[in-house]
Symmetry: C2
Subunit: 205 residues, 2 copies
Amino acid sequence: MPDRIRVRREPERGRYDRETIDAILDEALFCHLGFVVDGQPYVIPTLHARRGDLLYVHGSSASRMLRHAATGAPMCATVTLLDGLVLAKSVFNHSIDYRSVVVLGEARVVEDEEKLEALRLFTEHVAPGRWDEARQPTPTELKATAILSLSLTEASAKVRTGPPEDEPEDVGLPVWSGVVPIHLAVEESEYDWRRVRDGRLGPRR
Amino acid sequence: MPDRIRVRREPERGRYDRETIDAILDEALFCHLGFVVDGQPYVIPTLHARRGDLLYVHGSSASRMLRHAATGAPMCATVTLLDGLVLAKSVFNHSIDYRSVVVLGEARVVEDEEKLEALRLFTEHVAPGRWDEARQPTPTELKATAILSLSLTEASAKVRTGPPEDEPEDVGLPVWSGVVPIHLAVEESEYDWRRVRDGRLGPRR
């Protein structure tokens, strides 16, 4: 494992198996993409989708990003799923239950057939079944879309789960402690939502 | 307005008034913080809270980040709120309804009284009323916490809202188009959740 992707802070939360990494990437609806211009980091939200060992990211967010990506610039794609607020007996032990993935690598511009396939993956990632329902892109529309890929060679996950870790001396305090679960919810809509029919996004846990 | 914070892609979505920026920062439960080490960008999720013109970010995520921050390193804090999936008649016009804020600036390490106040803000940001309920931090606990601040001088918001923008020639296609609303939901818990009693996080819209 490359050293720079190792989880340093709270190392017991680090996960390096691809099964865990892939599941988090596949559940998250969007990522935050980091790149550097003139020494300044920029972080922007954008769509992503995974295929095997590649992470595709939608590159339409800034031309300055694309200019840099074309030269194989270093990038970082991060996804974070929020699972709960961890309320402890003490302020210090408050935390968040979450699952995140960080991917480091040099971006590559995706072209031609692979670009069409990546676009299909974006669409199916957000709304399964939608690629076949909606009108396909024209050559002009394809040209107006930019897609980058990052290898998953340097990726790690970080997961915090479970109840608060209260200090032994705090256990008796008359303060509620526990987890307030959170999830992304789909509101009622006319659309026949296929991914999850009970209004919860992502795989059941 | 500093040029590097101007929204270039889809400029009509750019918002620069502090009211919009502050509301998004205050609603989001966490941010993604970007920093650069040896030319490589890193993006990590962390807690934040706003006070006036300052954004506080929890700096416990990596010592390498803190080492750089102490020298006034350039950073980027981004928050993104997901509001809906925008399903258009064509694949190309699919989009996401969202509200995001990007803050650029040099990080400053927060100390002493201001640090305690920032910690109070983090706690109240995630769970209003909790600071007075839970045990206060000891000097040792305070020392183990690191907090950075960024000025909101260079900040901009980007907002996409409303229905899909279907092409005139697509309108007649037999494909459902519209928005599938999404929000963060709090599940049932024993905790007397104060922020929003109807299970929806953030201000009512």
